[in-house]
Amino acid sequence: MRPLDEKETSVVFEKLFKFVGNNLKNIVENPSHEGPDANPGRYCFRLHKNKIYYASESLVKRATNVARPNLVSLGTCIGKYTHGGSFHLTVQALNLLAANAKHKVWLKPQSEMSFLYGNHVLKGALGRITDNIAAGDGVVVFSMADVPLGFGVAAKSTQDCRKLDPNGIVVLHQGDVGEYLRMEDEL
């Protein structure tokens, strides 16, 4: 377990910025009330075995007691480095993203299931969409009851969505809560 170096930090932050925009500040400066300290600490990012964790400072301090090979996980895992060296967000980061999301898409109830099986979001599945999404932005996917279902990357801007036919892809799938069942072993 070690703090991220400069390059890694910028990569992680850029990725998060796509989803939350200026709310990134809230993620970094979020006060944590864990631990015995009276004054709240902060959350920080840690790299452990190719995975990035988001954990409170007090938790990190206590985790140092555990030997590196024995430490399985700490805090919330938000992403991992692939073998190719690129950074991917994993579905555990969903809670963090959903709370601060800038671009959102709501799915119609009948098409939730399709998304949870790992398919892309089609235009026909859209119940609602926030204004001015540009192509390439990170989008958090919600059900109509405001339950976060997953996240992805916008394939089309909001403007283009209007002219799109119902079978066109609006959001490219990156992660969804179905993965907790489908890829239990990997996570």
């Binding site: 709310n23 809670n95 119940g127 969409i129 926030t130 001015n132």
Partner: protein, 831 residues
């Protein structure tokens, strides 16, 4: 006129002009004149020259000959005058001579007035016939006459001067009075003439069309009132006689052709009418620039345009009208605006062409003035109406055409496949279809209804001009906002450039939002977003630049954005997050007195009540903020806010957690564990972690309906899903309450009574009596009444107590007495 050659017969000579001094003016005469000035003036004001000329006119003589004759006579007269003057020299002894400015010597003689009177007396007989006679004069004669009149006037002026100098003071005063009277007289006569001409034109325009020119001539008079009257009477005439079609002057070829008498007559009529109309319009346009005549001219222009939008020269009329549409003069502006509006609404009159022109012109003016115009000038667009069916029908027609083509092709191919055995049949069919097409084309040309395609074309043009204007205004506003913070950083007192056109522009955009092209939508939304935020991006300047756009304007921007979105996108439900953020912050900036409550109510209605679906966090944040907001504003505003809150709570069951008196926290409130009242983003305010204590305070609001509403909201529970449909929108509530407020001020005591009743009946009865008395102590009468009633109650209680004591006493005494009796009875048998 008969054109027989006749020997020129000279008219009979006038009675020889009697030298003035030979006429003896008796005292009686003078007396008569003095007493009956009216008579005298009537006579003296007549145009003696023209009368004499008319009398002496030779009916059938050639003009030149006549003129020569007249000249001769003039010379004679002049000779005579000289003679007279030489004759006068005899009397020189009378007084000292006077030298006038032009160097002539004059000698005092008797007044000349009488001679003039004589002359005019002669003329009276012809007075009544004068007008008709003048009408029959030919052009050349008229010109000559005009010249002579001028000369005559000069001469008369000289004579008058002479007379004034020469006459005794008494006579001078007389002359002056006469002069005044003559002015009045000419005025009257001109007025009469105008009326007569107008009347003649209205009764029979065909034969009297020539009179138009004369009327136009009259309206070029020196006298202001006459000019005005002339313009107005011409207006009446033109309004009546202008035909319902556009006049096309015949081409040279057509002129050469032989035509029937009636056609020639018609042509003459039309061309005369047209030229007079043109002259009149030119006159109007010239006069419109002079401040003295502006009102009259603009009125004439407007009513002409309103009455005959189809007629020739409407372009100049339209131009003049639109030039004045942004005038600083209230009356003129109103007039022009109403004219343009009526043009827009009554398109049937001119087939829509004028609408296009008018809109184009306005657009050009907005461009030229760089958006610094009166808001009324853009407000007129609101009365435009676009036929949506037209756009749709056009499309379907095209589709049909396409289909027809396809089917034809198919038919064709089928037919070719089916061999050419029935060639004859086919050719016949073709013939039939050809004739049908021809007939249709003829019908189209003849039918009165304009072509659908043409109308569609015009509508498109109008729309594009309107939106061009609107976008120009928006852009201008953006630029001025962007430039301002840099230009006067820190200088708050710097004159803020007004944006007069923004409000009508936003209104118009909201109204025509369903017609905006989808391609413009993105840009429009971006503009609106920036405007709604009231600043360019940098946070530091936001305070300053928000000063240039008022809260109401920014709210209006949000409303427009929502309307645009709603009207265009039935299929795609777009969540306008940014506008919600702006609204959330604008609620805090709202000040009851300064900003328009109606706009806020409308925004609440459109943005919060009409939207079907909201995030939980956002809704909770809005509920919390609106509840807080309603604590600090007037009853009408807070009513609107509370109605919205109720609506939101009914729709979002989860948000009813706010009504529990236990802070939600944990999983419900998301990542933000504490309510942040100053957060700018509704999604991050953590409102779900709070409790709506505001409702408790509001339920003791001074206004009965607010307190009941607040208590009603707080009694909603999360447990069972109540299906309560709110009847009123925030707008309605606001209106009702603001009406109510006005009433309340007049009937304050009544409302307080009502409130007190409610207090005692309702759930809030636990409030102590003391607090109510303290509250109502502002009203002396009320206090007195309260005290009296309080006293009465106390008094009753005391009285009751007293009576009860008495009753007890008597009861006990009765008992004693009974016991005594029993004892007596017992003792008696013992005995």
């Amino acid at each position: 006129m008969g054109k027989k050659k006749q020997k020129v017969v000279l008219p009979p000579e006038l009675p020889p002009e009697i030298p003035d001094d030979e006429v003896e003016v008796s005292d009686e005469d003078l007396q008569f004149i003095k007493e009956n000035r009216n008579y005298a003036s009537l006579l003296s004001t007549l145009d003696t020259h023209s009368i004499t000329k008319h009398v002496t006119r030779v009916a059938d003589a050639k003009d030149d000959a006549l003129e020569k004759l007249y000249e001769k006579r003039m010379q004679k007269n002049a000779l005579k005058k000289e003679k007279e003057e030489t004759g006068l020299q005899v009397d020189r002894v009378d007084a000292l001579p006077i030298k006038t400015l032009d160097g002539k010597l004059h000698y005092r003689t008797a007044s000349k007035t009488v001679s003039e009177n004589d002359l005019s007396e002669e003329g009276t007989a012809e007075d009544t016939n004068m007008d008709e006679g003048m009408v029959k004069l030919t052009k050349a004669e008229k010109r000559a006459k005009l010249k002579k009149m001028k000369k005559e006037a000069k001469k008369q002026g000289k004579e008058m001067a002479k007379a004034e100098v020469e006459e005794t003071p008494h006579a001078a005063v007389l002359a002056e009075v006469k002069e005044d009277l003559t002015a009045e007289q000419t005025f009257e006569s001109k007025k009469c003439k105008l009326a007569e001409l107008g009347n003649a034109l209205l009764t029979d325009p065909e034969s009297n069309i020539k009179l138009l020119k004369e009327m136009v001539q009259l309206s070029k008079d020196d006298d202001h009132t006459i000019v005005k009257l002339g313009l107005l009477s011409l207006l009446a005439v033109f309004k009546d006689i202008v035909p319902g079609y556009r006049i096309r002057l015949p081409t040279e070829k057509e002129l050469e052709m032989k035509v029937s008498k009636t056609v020639r007559k018609m042509r003459y009529y039309e061309s005369t009418l047209l030229s007079a109309y043109k002259a009149y319009l030119q006159r109007l346009v010239i006069l419109e620039k002079k401040p003295l005549f502006q009102h009259v001219a603009v009125r004439c222009i407007c009513s002409l345009l309103d009455a005959n939008p189809h007629f020739n020269f409407r372009e100049s009329l339209l131009e003049a009208t639109i030039r004045n549409i942004g005038s600083t003069d209230e009356a003129i502006r109103k007039l022009c605006c109403s004219t343009i509006k009526s043009l827009f609404t009554n398109e049937g009159k001119h087939g829509g062409e004028v609408t296009v022109e008018a809109v184009r012109l306005i657009a050009d003016y907005v461009k030229a003035y760089n958006c610094q115009m009166h808001p009324d000038s853009v407000d007129v667009f609101l009365s435009l109406s676009f036929n949506e069916d037209l756009l749709k029908s056009g499309k379907t027609e095209e589709d049909q055409k396409l289909k027809d083509k396809k089917s034809k092709k198919r038919k064709h191919s089928e037919a070719s496949n089916q061999l050419t055995e029935n060639d004859r049949k086919k050719s016949r069919q073709e013939l039939i279809s050809k004739t049908r097409e021809e007939v249709e084309a003829d019908y189209k040309a003849a039918s009165f209804a304009p072509d659908v395609m043409e109308r569609k074309q015009m509508q498109t043009e109008t729309l594009s001009a309107v939106f061009e204007t609107y976008f120009r205004i928006l852009k201008h506003t953006m630029q001025s906002i962007g430039a301002r913070p840099e230009a006067n950083a820190g200088a708050l007192s710097a004159a803020v450039e007004p944006l007069p056109l923004l409000a009508p522009c936003l209104k118009g955009l909201a109204k025509f939002s369903h017609l905006i092209d989808l391609d413009f939508m993105g840009d429009l939304m971006n503009h609106l977003k920036v405007l709604a935020s009231g600043s360019s991006n940098s946070g530091n300047t936001s305070d300053k630049s928000s000063k240039c756009l008022t809260v109401s304007e920014r709210l209006q921007c949000c409303i427009v954005a929502f309307k645009v979105m709603r009207n265009n996108l039935d299929a795609l439900n777009v969540d306008l997050q940014d506008f919600f953020i702006h609204l959330y912050n604008l609620v805090l900036e709202y000040r009851p007195g300064r900003d328009q409550g109606e706009v806020l109510a409308e925004a609440l209605k459109i943005m919060l009540c009409d939207d079907k679906h909201h995030d939980m966090q956002k809704t909770a944040a809005f509920i919390k903020r609106l509840a807080t907001f309603s604590l600090s504003v007037g009853s009408a505003d807070s009513m609107a806010a509370l109605v919205t809150v109720k609506h939101l709570l009914q729709k979002n069951v989860k948000c009813r957690n706010l009504l529990e008196n236990d802070i939600g926290g944990g999983s419900v409130s998301g990542t933000i564990p504490k309510y942040l009242p100053y957060s700018t983003d509704p999604n991050l305010s953590g409102a779900l972690a709070s409790v709506l204590w505001e409702l408790n305070i509001l339920s003791s609001h001074y206004h009965p309906s607010i307190s009941t509403l607040a208590s009603g909201i707080s009694s909603m529970s999360t447990a069972h899903n109540q299906v309560l449909l709110s009847k009123s929108s925030p707008q309605l509530a606001f209106k009702e309450m603001s009406l109510d407020q006005e009433l309340c001020f007049t009937q304050q005591s009544g409302s307080i009574k009502l409130k007190n009743k409610r207090r005692t009946n309702g759930p809030a009865a636990s409030l102590s009596i003391g607090s109510t008395t303290v509250k109502s102590s502002f009203d002396d009468n009320e206090l007195q009444r309260k005290l009296i009633s309080h006293f009465m109650v106390h008094h009753d209680i005391k009285e009751n107590e007293r009576l009860r004591k008495e009753l007890d006493r008597t009861a006990s005494s009765l008992q004693l007495y009974e016991q005594y009796k029993k004892q007596k009875k017992l003792s008696k048998p013992r005995r």
